[in-house]
């Protein structure tokens, strides 16, 4: 079944390469399927009542020839309809299988993506939370430093005044 197109280098075997070839082959088959189904849907050739050999057969067919339209009317449409229905069902089954496998794969990929997204969201949430905490800490730190600067300015001012007062006292 179809392995004739797969090229394998037995000296340096690479399963990924083999699987790629298998996937390519399946994709090519899937692409050619609509044409095949077109062929399948072509009208069913009329039954050849004269086919085959043998005197007896020919005589029988001749005897039956007046009834041929009736036989066609009664049997052929049913047979044709039956064949077509089977073909349609077969094609539908194949499409359904392909769709199911695609849906299954998409579902798994989506679940993985959603899980990852959820993780990112959680991490972002934690990050924001931590940033807010850090910002609050920095704000408090800034306020503390500002207060310290004000106190130091006042101390400096006081020391300046004291220096001047001491200088005055010294000059006296």
């Amino acid at each position: 079944m179809g392995q004739d197109k797969i090229e394998i280098d037995y000296d340096r075997i690479d399963v990924a390469r083999i699987m790629d070839q298998i996937k390519e082959k399946i994709a090519a088959e899937a692409r050619s399927e609509p044409q095949a189904s077109g062929a399948e849907a072509a009208p069913i050739p009329e039954l050849d009542f004269m086919a085959g050999q043998g005197r007896m057969r020919r005589v029988l067919l001749k005897l039956m020839s007046p009834f041929r339209p009736l036989v066609k009317l009664l049997i052929l449409p049913v047979d044709e309809e039956h064949r077509r229905t089977v073909l349609i069902l077969d094609r539908t089954n194949r499409r359904l299988d392909r769709l199911i496998s695609e849906v299954e794969r998409d579902r798994r990929v989506t679940i993985e993506r959603l899980d990852r997204l959820r993780e990112y969201t959680k991490l972002l949430h934690h990050l924001c939370h931590n940033l807010v905490i850090e910002m609050s800490k920095l704000k408090i730190e800034e306020e503390t430093l500002k207060t310290k600067t004000r106190v130091m300015e006042k101390d400096f001012e006081f020391l300046g005044k004291r220096e001047k007062a001491l200088e005055k006292e010294a000059l006296k």
């Binding site: 079944m1 392995q3 037995y10 399963v15 699987m19």
Partner: protein, 393 residues
């Protein structure tokens, strides 16, 4: 050096993946260190009901201390709690409640760790998702080494586990994919660790011919070994194999062995042989054309390694990233996502003995380079050596 292995269940009759993994590693580490096992009295992983009566016993030369489970799990309630947890917004307290429900709840084991921390150099915790690992690692973080045996399972995204994966002294992963997944969910790249996995013992003698004779098997067969369960992808395997048979006209049979959880379809070319012991398992592998591994969730897949150890190729489910990664790294098997890929890969493998032989040989080389017990022991010892060096520095 004194080492303790802390695991949810332990015993010769316990066949669960992580538990068996723990027992094999403990039995091999016995050669280089004083080894003890700290575990629960449970044998059933669904309910964790106390099964073992003795507090202490020796299993294959290893001292095993057993602690009672204070509350058996109610599977229905646990299912409801887990469902609510995974479907709705929740907080850390909800996750801890879920962990309590999951069990096996053994506060005396945690108390023992607290009281005897200094008596051991390292504690190896197996399976991240259970009560003993979470609270145990929180109790002895600086001496704990976690073997997560994590699968791509939704609970790995829980907040409590992000923190857990950043806590232990080191982590021993089963596969590159497991390490990547855990790094992604927890950002724990700074925690020292290595990809090690587990070895397997291949018996000296095995015979596919004997297996074929015993079961009167004629023609090629594809083998599945393990629990026959929906989670293991078996329903898909049955569906795909029946379609493959219908479309290809191949004479291959599907042979199944292991415990069953789901019903096996009645088909002339699907044959169930029940649970097999190790000897028969290797005989079956030897007689098979290839091993099929349809599981969606695997943290390592020992049976895949066993197939490679015997030089048999594998056909694996590519939707399990560990199996796909192992096949790609080893070049020892093909993989499929959809039915057409399954059909093409299986027919390619069945029709080409040369391809099977080459893939099998690659698998065997990969197994010998990474999963023989010498390699595994050396990796464990290298990690312990590194931790000791860091400790003394």
């Amino acid at each position: 050096m004194k080492i303790a292995f802390v695991v949810q269940r332990y015993g010769l009759e316990i066949n669960g993946g992580a538990e068996l993994h723990c027992r094999w590693v403990a039995e091999h580490m016995k050669k280089v260190a004083e080894v003890e096992v700290l575990t629960t009295k449970a044998a059933d992983y669904i309910t964790w009901k106390n099964h073992y009566t003795r507090d202490e016993e020796t299993v294959n030369g290893i001292r095993v201390r057993r602690f009672p489970v204070t509350r058996a799990r109610n599977p229905e309630r646990f299912g409801r709690v887990q469902d609510r947890l995974l479907r709705h917004e929740h907080n850390e307290a909800d996750e801890l409640r879920w962990l309590d429900e999951e069990g096996p709840r053994t506060p005396s084991l945690i108390q023992y760790l607290k009281d005897n921390e200094s008596a051991y150099d390292y504690f190896f915790f197996f399976s991240y998702r259970y009560y003993h690992s979470y609270w145990g690692i929180k109790t002895v973080p600086r001496r704990s080494i976690l073997v997560p045996t994590a699968e791509r399972d939704p609970v790995i995204g829980l907040r409590i586990f992000q923190d857990l994966f950043r806590t232990p002294r080191a982590i021993i992963y089963n596969s590159v994919e497991e390490r990547k997944m855990i790094n992604e969910v927890s950002g724990n790249e700074q925690v020292p660790g290595d990809v090690v996995g587990v070895g397997t013992e291949v018996p000296g003698r095995y015979s596919g011919e004997a297996f074929r004779r015993k079961y009167n098997m004629v023609g090629p067969y594809v083998l599945y070994l393990g629990r026959i369960d929906e989670n293991k992808g078996c329903h898909k395997l049955f569906d795909y194999f029946i379609r493959f048979k219908r479309e290809s006209g191949s004479e291959a049979k599907l042979i199944l062995a292991g415990s069953t959880v789901i019903q096996i379809p009645s088909h002339p070319d699907i044959q169930y042989l029940g649970f097999m012991d190790d000897e028969e398992k290797f005989d079956a592998l030897d007689g098979a054309e290839l091993l099929v591994m349809p599981s969606f969730y695997e943290s390592l897949s020992m049976v895949t390694l066993e197939a490679w150890a015997l030089g048999k190729p594998v056909l694996a489910n590519a939707l399990c990233d560990v199996l796909k990664g192992q096949c790609q790294r080893s070049n020892g098997g093909l993989f499929y996502e959809t039915y057409p890929e399954f059909r093409e890969a299986l027919s390619l493998l069945l029709s080409s003995p040369r391809l099977r032989r080459t893939l099998g040989e690659n698998g065997r080389r990969y197994f010998e380079a990474n999963y023989t017990w010498d390699v595994i022991e050396n990796k464990y010892l290298a990690l312990l050596g590194r931790l000791e060096k860091e400790k003394s520095a």
